[in-house]
């Protein structure tokens, strides 16, 4: 059966205009080659700044509830929670970053796999949104960075701080040891 475009007769002009715009956008969807040149990240705010972490490290975004506080734990530890049969530590990202302000009390936990064989949860003010960052810019920023954060300046001077979770956790362990 051959597919035919829907008739547009009788469609109001404004709706038709909207449909045309959508079609245009679809036509300009980046080719696969472009997709490959992007690093997909989960982007979220921490206070006044924008942070991101590679989407591949994100396992889930869950509401910040049912967290059990752990008295006597280091201050960056918010508590522990159950996640898919495991007990996972919830950590304060702002605290890990050295004390950042925040606009809203975090209500979301991002369960991430930093790459050392166990999951941790990081608090977050809002559910992150998936975004693509140009690989070239990411690599350039990573080359410049010596720490857990690579500062990426996007067109329009928008800055995104890309987190390297392994380094972030390493730094925390180093701080604890000190």
């Amino acid at each position: 059966m051959k597919l035919r475009a829907r008739e547009t007769d009788g469609v109001p002009a404004d709706v038709e205009e909207l449909l045309l715009q959508r079609a245009e956008r679809v036509r300009h969807k980046p080719a696969e080659a472009d997709d490959e040149s992007l690093l997909w990240v989960a982007e979220f705010p921490v206070g006044e700044e924008t942070y991101a972490l590679p989407l591949e490290t994100l396992r889930a975004a869950v509401p910040l509830k049912m967290v059990t506080a752990v008295p006597l734990s280091p201050p960056h530890v918010i508590g522990i929670l159950r996640f898919q049969g495991q007990i996972v530590t919830a950590l304060s990202l702002a605290s890990l970053l050295g004390g950042r302000g925040w606009r809203e009390d975090p209500a979301v936990l991002l369960v991430v796999d930093p790459g050392f064989g166990r999951l941790v949860a990081l608090d977050c003010e809002r559910i992150p949104k998936p975004t693509g960052l140009p690989h070239a810019l990411v690599e350039e920023a990573r080359a410049r960075s010596t720490g857990a954060i690579s500062e990426i300046t996007l067109p329009g001077m928008r800055q995104v701080n890309l987190l390297d979770l392994l380094r972030l956790m390493d730094r925390r362990h180093a701080q604890e040891k000190r």
């Binding site: 960056h76 159950r82 898919q84 050295g98």
Partner: protein, 726 residues
């Protein structure tokens, strides 16, 4: 190597290890009793299985090797005497080489030489064996394939060996004895079992969610009831009630399934601790032979089943402790006799599982720890300063033997006391989230007690409330509970004691021990738990006793595992986690948790957001503050009733009582009317700031301004302003 053979080899290594352990056990028993009976038969069967299985896999040299061991052992069947020590020695050593060779083949490593073992076996081979071998050789067959062992010529009826081959036919490789249990079993990887355990955990979460839905439904029905439109909603309510009942039944069924799956997996993933204890007998025997000492190893509780992984990890520490006991603890027989002891030293291993805590005790009746030698060694190696050493208690001195430098250097200097490599033991036990203690009486022996969490078990826990926190205490440590009565409390300058059954025992506030608040004298009627652990008694004051539960205690994640206060965490009925305290932490925390912090500035953070509290705490602790927290106004007022703070950092937007109301109440109280207060808010408006000041706050900061330096600066500023005002 053929991939199929490689796969078969891996299974054969495991199977052989089990047989190896069985043969070793039998050999050691037959060294002490007549070489006959089921033990001998089992030994013969084990060697035969090794031979047969090796031949089946084409490992001719191992089949031949096992055959040579049979040649040594089988002629001794039925002897009224025990196996000669030299024979047992030779076969044990040969078995070690046999296993090493098999492992090397599987790992494609360097193969150990079999020549010395062959020579050793030849040396101890009973005279009759040669005759039988010659007799067996009469069929004219050479030894290209393993010779028919003597026992196969006329197998005793109780030994399940294959029938003798037809005389003229080439001798087939012996067929491994099929074990019914093995034939019915599968080899499953640890990863698969762990994955299943996690799935069971997920199922438990689903069950909890079902329970949550049932409660929500119940609330909805109640709301409909309250609306007063009962007639219109009757049908809907009937449906909802039906669903609620079904959810309840489904939840219960799911709980049953979870329990039964958990029990099944427990059976699959555990094995009797005997498997790790049997090789210890061999170690004791060999070491006694090497040192000229005599020792008898007794084991109590070998039937306890443990997580197979934990058993593997326990092997090293236990061998270390037992070797240490023989080598350094037990005296030579003549010395023991001179001291009025039995020349044969007594080594005891006692295993006990209480809920999901495992206690393993390795004890000996040797010389015990020599405190003087420990002191000398510690000084010689500069492990502690002389003045510190002088003030150390016996218990603290005992702990020195676990110091890394202590053990290794002792060995090098031929120190005759205990402690060689015990740091390794401690590290291995700590890696299993356990701990090791030592108790010793000079001249009477030493006792090492390993305490480990045992997965897959549940244990009774007393759940208590302390402020907003629920915490669990293992029931094994709870002797009794009672209400505090002022008449029974002895309040001193630095400590509080309880007159309990004509004994004065220290009183500690749980909140203070876990850093939630300052030490408080229990109020009249406040619950007190009498704890007993490590021989110490403590009266622990808590805010409320919530009841005892049977809980599965699981290890904490790595980020908080090192905290000495906790044994693990368990899931309560509603799905929330409860931390389980370590009784030894509680009874050993006699000193006031904050005693050393006199003069430290104290801050109270009040915020209903866990994460905001964590952030404030991070910033304030960086500035040297001791921080206590409260999650709402009511708790903050409770904290302020008992403790004094240098500053209060308080969120404005809280439920029940917001920051303005709390500030107003605090200002009305005489003891807090001049306490500096800094209000923080997610909102940034002049009206908020003005209202804050109007209610009596000293400063205002938005949360986005709460970067560490700024918060600390503002806290200092409000304290200064308050002082200035005074």
């Amino acid at each position: 190597m053929d991939p199929l053979l490689e796969q078969l080899l891996a299974g054969f290594v495991d199977e052989s290890q089990e047989i190896y352990e069985r043969i070793t056990r039998n050999l050691m028993e037959l060294e002490k009793s007549p070489a006959q009976g089921p033990g001998f038969d089992d030994l013969a069967r084990g060697l035969h299985t090794l031979k047969g299985s090796a031949a089946t896999l084409g490992l001719e040299e191992l089949a031949d090797f096992a055959h040579r061991m049979e040649d040594v052992i089988l002629p001794l069947r039925g002897s009224a005497k025990p196996l000669p020590a030299a024979v047992a020695d030779a076969v044990l050593k040969s078995l070690d080489i046999w296993m090493a060779r098999l492992r090397a083949i599987a790992a494609k490593g360097e193969l150990p030489d079999l020549g010395p073992s062959f020579a050793l076996l030849e040396k101890v081979k009973p005279a009759g064996a040669a005759k039988k071998k010659n007799g067996a050789g009469k069929n004219g067959k050479g030894r290209a394939v393993p010779e028919k062992p003597a026992a196969e010529v006329a197998p005793p009826p109780e030994v399940a060996l294959p029938p003798p081959p037809v005389a003229s036919a080439p001798e087939p490789a012996p067929v491994p004895v099929a074990d019914d249990a093995q034939a019915d079993s599968w080899r499953v990887s640890t990863r698969q079992v762990i994955a299943l355990l996690q799935e069971v955990e997920r199922l438990r979460e689903v069950r909890l969610r079902v329970e949550e839905r049932r409660r929500e439904l119940e609330k909805a029905v109640l709301q409909l009831d309250r609306l007063g439109i009962q007639a219109e909603t009757a049908e809907a309510r009937a449906v909802l009630l039906g669903v609620r009942r079904s959810l309840g039944a489904d939840g219960e069924e799911a709980a049953d399934i979870v329990s039964s799956m958990e029990e099944g997996l427990k059976t699959i993933s555990t094995t009797p601790v005997r498997t790790v204890l049997d090789p210890l007998r061999r170690a004791v025997r060999d070491l006694c032979k090497a040192t000229g000492k005599q020792a008898k190893l007794s084991v109590v509780g070998a039937e306890v089943s443990l997580d197979r992984r934990a058993i593997e990890q326990l092997r090293g520490p236990l061998i270390h402790l037992v070797r240490n006991a023989v080598d350094h603890g037990l005296e030579m027989p003549e010395v023991r006799e001179a001291r009025g002891k039995n020349p044969e030293g007594a080594l005891t291993i006692r295993i006990e599982q209480q809920g999901n805590m495992l206690f393993i005790e390795v004890g000996d009746d040797g010389a015990g720890l020599d405190l003087e030698q420990i002191r000398e060694a510690a000084l010689r190696r500069a492990l502690v300063a002389p003045e510190e050493l002088a003030s150390m208690s016996t218990q603290q001195l005992h702990q020195l033997i676990f110091r890394p430098g202590f053990s290794t250097r002792m060995e090098a200097t031929e120190f005759s006391g205990r402690g060689v490599g015990l740091d390794v033991v401690r590290n291995q036990i700590q890696a299993l989230q356990g701990h090791v203690e030592v108790q010793s009486v000079a001249g009477q022996g030493a006792r090492f007690v390993l305490t480990l969490p045992a997965d897959l078990g549940s244990s009774p826990v007393l759940v208590v409330r302390c402020g907003e926190h629920q915490l669990g205490i293992p029931m094994a440590a709870v002797e009794s509970s009672r209400a505090a009565r002022n008449d029974d409390l002895r309040v001193g300058r630095s400590r509080v004691q309880l007159d309990h059954r004509e004994q004065l025992i220290p009183v500690q506030d749980l909140g203070a021990l876990v850093g939630l608040r300052q030490q408080e004298v229990p109020a009249e009627g406040q619950p007190l738990l009498i704890l007993l652990a490590q021989g110490r008694r403590l009266a622990l004051s808590v805010d409320e006793v919530l009841g005892d539960r049977e809980l599965v205690i699981r290890p904490l994640p790595a980020d908080v595992r090192e905290l000495p206060a906790y044994q693990g965490a368990a899931t309560l009925a509603r799905g929330e986690l409860v931390l389980i305290l370590r009784p030894d932490f509680l009874v050993n925390s006699e000193r006031n948790a904050e005693a050393g912090l006199a003069g430290t500035r104290r801050a109270l953070v009040v915020d209903d957001s866990l994460t905001a509290r964590a952030l404030h705490r991070t910033a304030l602790e960086t500035g040297g503050y001791l921080v206590h927290t409260a999650s709402n106004g009511r708790q903050a007022l409770e904290q302020l009733r008992h403790s004094a703070y240098d500053v209060m950092v308080c969120d404005i937007g809280m439920d029940e009582m917001d920051g303005y109301e709390l500030t107003a109440v605090v200002r009305q109280r005489a003891e807090t009317d001049s306490m500096p207060i800094l209000l923080v808010s997610a909102r940034d408006s002049d009206s908020d700031r003005q209202r804050g000041v109007a209610t009596g706050a000293d400063g205002f900061l938005t949360k986005k301004e709460c970067v560490s330096g700024r918060l600390l600066a503002e806290v200092s500023a409000v304290i200064a302003r308050r002082k200035g005002a005074a």
